[in-house]
């Protein structure tokens, strides 16, 4: 089990706002979480719930304008990433924290060879010679399971299949032995057999290299397969944070519960009809003063409309942001 006392990455009260022509969009509101060394944190949540924005604002990767950081702290090795100079931040990006993006098809620069793109951070961050960098790049490609790595370094991204491109992205993220790897839906665009390959690969790598991973996904199945802990996001907030087993066995937040019910299962009895979550996700024009899930929540009460619930730890390592969490547990137990 990871060491909970010394997180590698600690995010406190992060808040990010987009300035757009239609007004402000409060995409991330007071998000806090921490990441233990060697841990794999799964992040789930509806599309637009702020998963990507949160992770990107950690490293200042959002274009500004329109994005603006409105407070919070991101502690990494004792430094606040939001405060340090661009130069230092650059060293950390790619050097200490690796990033894998959502869409492997467009995230690689089409006009540079894969080798160049892998070697670039090696040469710039670690000052390796061309030869050394090439050697290392080849090792990395082999590590992520691309056959004939030496040859393929000379290929361009479009010559790789989607799954292989995603592996190249992983290789790039791993170049400088990062302490933390942030993977933003790395398998969503891939089909199941390739996804399975990548999941295996990540499990493998984690064992070999021992880094902490943040894994964003929609797919609860994936989370169930690899995560240690799960963070559920909704409306720019973290609504639930729990060890992976408990999310599936004992989801506390109504959103998590609803989410789990929408997915059909491969085995077991087949429901006649899928459950859905009615209503629309909120558009965050201002900082929410109410629970953002309220309008879609079956259990909403008046209080939900007045006060945005704080995140509370209900059982060890399992926090939730819902006014009625305790009641609902009791109810569930009762039923």
């Amino acid at each position: 089990m990871p060491d909970r006392a010394h997180p590698v990455l600690q995010v406190q009260d992060l808040k990010t706002v987009f300035k757009t022509r239609g007004g402000e969009v409060h995409a991330v509101n007071h998000v806090s979480f921490s990441l233990q060394p060697g841990e794999l944190l799964g992040v789930v949540g509806e599309s637009g719930s702020g998963k990507s924005v949160t992770m990107m604002s950690l490293l200042g990767l959002l274009p500004s304008p329109p994005a603006m950081n409105k407070g919070g702290k991101v502690l990494f090795q004792g430094k606040d990433l939001l405060k340090i100079s661009p130069n230092e931040l650059r060293k950390i990006r790619g050097g200490e924290i690796g990033f894998i993006f959502q869409d492997p098809m467009t995230s690689l620069n089409p006009v540079f060879t894969v080798g160049y793109q892998i070697m670039e951070p090696l040469r710039r961050h670690m000052g390796m010679s061309k030869e050394q960098a090439r050697k290392r790049a080849q090792d990395l490609l082999e590590l992520v399971g691309i056959p004939d790595a030496g040859q393929r370094l000379k290929d361009f991204p479009h010559q790789f299949s989607g799954g292989m491109r995603q592996r190249v992205m992983i290789a790039i993220a791993l170049t400088c032995d990062p302490k933390v790897l942030i993977a933003d839906e790395p398998t969503t665009a891939l089909d199941v057999t390739i996804q399975a390959q990548i999941l295996e690969l990540v499990k493998d790598l984690r064992q070999k290299l021992g880094m902490a991973i943040v894994w964003i996904t929609h797919d609860l199945g994936v989370v169930a397969g690899i995560a240690d802990r799960v963070m559920v996001m909704y409306g720019g907030q973290v609504v639930e944070m729990s060890p992976v087993k408990e999310v599936f066995s004992k989801p506390l937040h109504p959103y998590t519960q609803a989410l789990l019910q929408t997915i059909p299962s491969l085995r077991g009895p087949r429901e006649a009809r899928l459950r859905t979550i009615d209503g629309q996700p909120p558009i965050l024009r201002a900082e929410p003063t109410a629970c953002p899930f309220m309008s879609r929540c079956r259990h909403a009460i008046a209080r939900c409309g007045i006060e945005n619930p704080k995140r509370r730890e209900l059982s060890p390592g399992h926090d939730v942001a819902c006014h009625r969490a305790e009641e609902l547990i009791a109810e569930a137990a009762h039923v």
Partner: protein
């Protein structure tokens, strides 16, 4: 809180039967919010107004020579001065604007229509592609001047006879300019069409059973408007300059027909002596091109609902 939601819902319900309105209104709404475009529009309207209403506001002949008033500087009587024959420059700028605007806009429209049509056909119909692009090469290679001479020789008389000297030569010039300037538009549009036709919404239209010509009109054409806009901006400048070159060569309007390009050229010998003679038409010309450019920018944004939303 709930109240406000309810009222909002009620309002939405009330509005819900508002029939869909013409999409051009949306475009206009967006267009209005584009600062640059509105600025360009103002300048453009101003120019049009100057040209359209100018003859009423400034009731001086543009061609009447007045030998006693030659080369006068700016004054109340002659707001922009007079030229070497004592003709009032303001009146000439106004009169020239009429021709220039008409020629520039019509030639540009013709040229981009031609260019867009050929570009779309080349991009959309694979079989036509090769031949159309080779035709484009041919036109690119054609020397303008002999071609114009040829056109003037063949068509000036019949046109002048059927439409009178003004309209006849106007038609001739406008077609001549359009004929020789559509190639770039065609090339750009073709490139764009090649990518757009692979997009899924075109396939969707085909699955509905929309025939090719309506796919082009409804789906392809609006999507290639943005490069066409750029071409249009450059096209106006090009048309105006070509027109002036034509009159310089004696292929254009009759000599007593001022146009901005011609004023510019007439003023050139005097540039050192009376720089304002070059300045005014140049200014008019630049503001025309600039305003069209900004309008094009705005229109491009306004035509794209994705940008429009923001």
């Amino acid at each position: 809180m709930t109240d406000s939601i309810n009222t909002a819902k009620a309002a939405a319900a009330a509005a819900s039967y508002r029939p869909p309105r013409n999409q051009w209104w949306d475009v206009w709404d967006q267009f209005r919010t584009h600062k640059g475009a509105m600025f360009g529009m103002c300048v453009f309207v101003l120019l049009i107004a100057l040209v359209a209403l100018g003859p009423w506001l400034w009731d001086v002949s543009a061609t009447q020579t007045n030998m006693r008033m030659r080369n006068k500087p700016m004054s109340w009587e002659f707001p922009l001065g007079t030229d070497q024959l004592g003709r009032d420059i303001l009146a000439r700028v106004i009169a020239g604007g009429k021709t220039t605007l008409a020629v520039g806009l019509t030639a540009m429209c013709l040229s981009i229509t031609l260019g867009a049509t050929i570009g779309i056909c080349a991009g959309f119909f694979r079989r036509a592609d090769n031949i159309l692009m080779r035709v484009t090469d041919l036109f690119l290679a054609l020397p303008l001047l002999p071609l114009l001479l040829l056109m003037v020789m063949l068509f000036r008389e019949p046109l002048v006879q059927s439409f009178g000297p003004e309209l006849g030569i106007f038609l001739l010039i406008v077609t001549a300019i359009a004929m020789t300037s559509w190639m770039n538009t065609a090339r750009i549009v073709r490139g764009e069409v090649l990518t757009i036709k692979e997009r899924e919404f075109v396939l969707a239209a085909r699955s509905i059973g929309t025939p090719a010509r309506r796919i082009i009109l409804r789906h392809i054409l609006p999507s290639v408007l943005s490069p066409v806009m750029v071409a249009a901006t450059l096209g106006i400048a090009n048309a105006v300059i070509t027109e002036s070159a034509l009159s310089f060569l004696g292929l254009g309007f009759p000599p007593d027909f001022p146009t901005w390009g011609r004023l510019l050229q007439d003023g050139m010998p005097y540039i050192n002596l009376y720089p304002s003679r070059v300045l005014w038409p140049a200014l008019a010309l630049s503001s025309l091109v600039l305003s069209v450019n900004y309008i094009g920018d705005g229109l491009r944004d306004a035509l794209d609902p994705r940008i429009r939303g923001r």
